[in-house]
């Protein structure tokens, strides 16, 4: 047992007396994939980003993703810090541009597994154009979008996902724009796999992440997460756990859900679940097929742009 274990002493003895009964108790399974020399991380108490990372790491382990070929790309924001805590090839890029960076990475070396892990503002506001076109092209990247309803890193300004009527630092009297329905949006753009979970639904989230690794093409998982510091407190959720309780209460997983019903309004249900799971040729596949067809032997089969 590690020294840091805090538990009843009598019980600890019971366990160590019978080692056979102990399966796994030395190390948090997540640690293997984390840069432990950077932990504790910068996220606030009760921030949901860490919970999503927990699900992500567990999904990596379960799906047996080849770590040496795994790249995680982030933009800028609290959520954008995820890549930096993962002990894989990690790229912390510029605000909104994780997707085009990932596009370059994936196309130049198709053997890589490329994940984009970033925030709602990063991916859908400043990076919205890239989201549209990477989904449309069906670039084989796995997007995890942490939606905490707000621009956190910069102090709680309104985002395209801020529910109408809620308070943000740039909407002190309540935000009066319609929120972007992310699943609906990326479905229209062409994503092959779309799911939404909250950080209360960690197991389902992990399973979706596992599924997305097995899927080729552009996948999109929205993770609704608490930001107690800059969203929760202004909107009657004092702590992360209060927002988590709200997620538990208002989330609905219905049969035959459609993305158009996934709009988020304050005080109303949050539709969760897997919305889309379909097949489309990826950008690379269709490029290869097409050139083989029209150029015949003149086509030089593309395997990677590495020197």
């Amino acid at each position: 047992m590690t020294e840091s274990v805090v538990t009843d002493h009598t019980k600890q003895e019971t366990i160590s007396a019978d080692q056979n009964r102990v399966e796994l108790c030395e190390k948090n399974p997540a640690e293997d994939f984390l840069r432990m020399d950077r932990i504790p991380h910068i996220w606030c108490p009760g921030c949901g980003i860490g919970t999503s990372v927990n699900a992500f790491v567990r999904a990596l382990i379960e799906a047996k993703v080849d770590r040496s070929k795994l790249c995680v790309v982030s933009g800028i924001g609290c959520s954008g810090r995820v890549s930096g805590y993962l002990n894989v090839d990690a790229f912390h890029t510029t605000h909104g541009r994780a997707i085009p960076f990932a596009t370059g990475l994936k196309l130049a070396n198709p053997e890589l597994t490329v994940v984009v892990y970033s925030g709602d503002g990063d991916l859908s506001a400043i990076g919205g154009n890239h989201l549209v076109h990477a989904a449309r092209r069906n670039i084989d990247i796995k997007v995890v979008c942490v939606n905490n309803f707000i621009y956190s890193m910069t102090g709680g300004q309104a985002a395209p996902t801020t529910p109408m009527g809620t308070i943000a630092s740039t909407a002190p009297y309540g935000f009066c724009e319609y929120a972007l329905n992310l699943p609906h949006f990326v479905e229209a753009c062409g994503a092959t796999y779309i799911a939404r979970w909250t950080t209360f639904h960690v197991r389902q989230l992990q399973k979706s992440m596992q599924e997305s690794f097995a899927k080729k093409g552009f996948t999109f998982i929205e993770v609704i997460a608490p930001c107690p510091t800059l969203y929760g407190r202004r909107n009657q959720y004092r702590q992360g756990v209060d927002e988590m309780k709200m997620f538990k209460e208002v989330s609905r997983r219905e049969k035959d859900i459609e993305t158009r019903d996934a709009e988020i309004k304050p005080g109303e249900k949050i539709v969760i679940g897997k919305f889309v799971d379909r097949e489309r040729e990826t950008w690379l596949e269709s490029m290869q097929h097409h050139y083989k067809e029209v150029l015949g032997d003149a086509y030089y089969p593309y395997t990677g742009a590495m020197i």
Partner: protein, 88 residues
């Protein structure tokens, strides 16, 4: 009185199919684990950890299934559950 409490605790422990590992100094006291443990097997500590937060401790009188729900929730990688290999 005290004896009977101990007895209950032991009985519960026998029912426990697993346990948790808590790295108390990594905890930021968010309470996700305490709040959402399906068997309510955790409570907050009285004292503070190095970061100044109350951290979770196992409640002896409740059974832990080792389901690792707490581990899956923890944003700070401070806790995880594990199952005993064979439950007798």
């Amino acid at each position: 009185m005290k004896d009977s409490k101990m007895a209950t605790a032991e009985k519960k422990e026998r029912q426990s199919r697993g346990n948790v590992n808590i790295n108390k100094d990594r905890c930021k006291g968010c309470g996700f684990c305490v709040e959402f443990c399906p068997t309510h097997a955790l409570r907050f500590s009285e004292d503070f950890n190095a970061l100044g937060y109350h951290y979770p401790v196992r409640l002896e009188e409740a059974a832990c299934t080792g389901c690792d729900q707490c581990g899956a929730f923890c944003p700070d990688f401070a806790i995880f559950g594990y199952r005993y290999k064979s439950h007798t």
